[in-house]
Amino acid sequence: MPKAASSSADRIWAIFAKDARSEYRTRFAVNALFLFALVTLTALSFATGGAGLTPLLASVFFWVIVFFSALSSLAQTFVKEVETKTATFLRLTAPDDAVFFGKWGFNLLLLLLLEAVLTPLFIVMLNMPVANWTVWIATLILGALGLVSTTTLIGALIAVAGVRGALFSVLSFPVLLPLLVVLIRTTEVAFGGGLEVGLRDGFLVLGTYAVVATTAGWMLFPFVWRE
């Protein structure tokens, strides 16, 4: 049924567009995400005081900034629905798949924007030029995919549970740790350090993580969303 397939894509797009429009009006998540990243970056840049960073340290800094910025605001898409009491309406009007992938897409957009803004800032403020752009961009995209699939499910879980704040990071971190470890390794290569030998394995792990986390998140989402 081609019509059903296209309407399912339409529904995902509708959720995505609704979130994007609402975010454009309030700019709540964007502000939290970007200012948090900027503040952390400034603190790091100031504290290291232009000392020469090794590629490993720079990639650790980069992903710590991205992870904690993401954990500070990516639950917002679901928390907002609960706080403004629109969650029930969303449950009634939209199928679970559309809600999950709509929110997933919106979070992915936010995170890719953050990475795109953070890259030049990082190069300028920490004086760390990117040596291998292909590896760098592939790492950013795969990292965002893995991060988003995990935080979308756990964000929904947090919102439905009615517990906010610190618990989001507490729940996300153990699940995200394998991703973080591998991302730091591949980013090190992008900054011109590390060993290129394990790069293929690294990307394989990142890709597998994104696929597994997205599939598991999508399959488990109805159990979170429906009471």
Binding site: V163, P174, P178, V181, G198, A216
Partner: protein, 220 residues
């Protein structure tokens, strides 16, 4: 149930005695061979902590299908036991690491795995305690457990290999070569007895924990 309890007590008593008398010290493990004796306790504990994670995740899946309180109790009690066993395994592991590698903590892939397991269990119980409503607590914590279970193979099987290919400094080579030893004769016998003993201990504690949790449930 009585058999499991008696078997656990008898087997572990035998292992405690045998580990210090029958099993010969393994010179390859650590500076003095005597340090290797901790393996008869540490490895089964680590295995049980992993087993309880699997059991907890399987019961979480069953719970989401059946929605029976009992399945949730099995899942959460197994996770509780997993937390205890993984903490004890982490402590015994780092005592051995101090002897063999010179430091309590080396970020060896196996140490990392146990550490993440402890963090995950901690997060799981933080979530359970934060949700007041019983139905939501069971449903959401089951989802979290299954999600963690889906990710864990990456951590368990893939990451150690990644580490060895990307991080081949002296310490890691020591870790890679000293972590393996060929078991034979009395060592293997004691080792297998110990695994059986700790398995019985786990089953006994699981049944006991579920019975206690059921009583709490009935009292409200």
């Amino acid at each position: 149930m009585g058999i499991v309890r008696i078997a656990a007590v008898v087997l572990i008593t035998i292992v405690i005695i045998a580990a210090f008398t029958i099993a010969p010290p393994l010179a390859a493990m650590g500076t003095s061979g005597a340090a290797s004796r901790i393996f008869f306790f540490h490895v089964p504990m680590a295995q049980v902590s992993f087993l309880s994670f699997v059991v907890a995740a399987v019961y979480a899946i069953v719970y989401l299908r059946t929605r029976k309180t009992d399945h949730d109790l099995f899942s959460s009690v197994s996770a509780e036991l997993g937390l205890v066993f993984s903490i004890v395994a982490m402590i015994t592991g780092s005592i051995w690491a101090k002897q063999a590698w010179g430091a309590y903590w080396n970020w060896d892939p196996r140490q990392l795995f146990l550490f993440v397991l402890v963090l995950f269990y901690g997060a799981f119980f933080a979530l359970r305690q934060a949700i007041v409503q019983a139905d939501a607590r069971r449903r959401l914590s089951a989802v979290y457990l299954i999600f963690g279970g889906a990710i864990s193979p990456l951590l368990f099987f893939v990451l150690p290999r990644m580490y060895q290919s990307l991080h081949e400094d002296a310490n890691q080579v020591v870790v890679a070569t000293q972590g393996k030893f060929n078991m034979s004769g009395p060592v293997a016998t004691v080792f297998i007895t110990s695994i059986a003993g700790f398995l019985c201990l786990y089953v006994w504690l699981l049944k006991l924990g579920v019975a206690a949790a059921r009583m709490q449930e009935e009292q409200g």
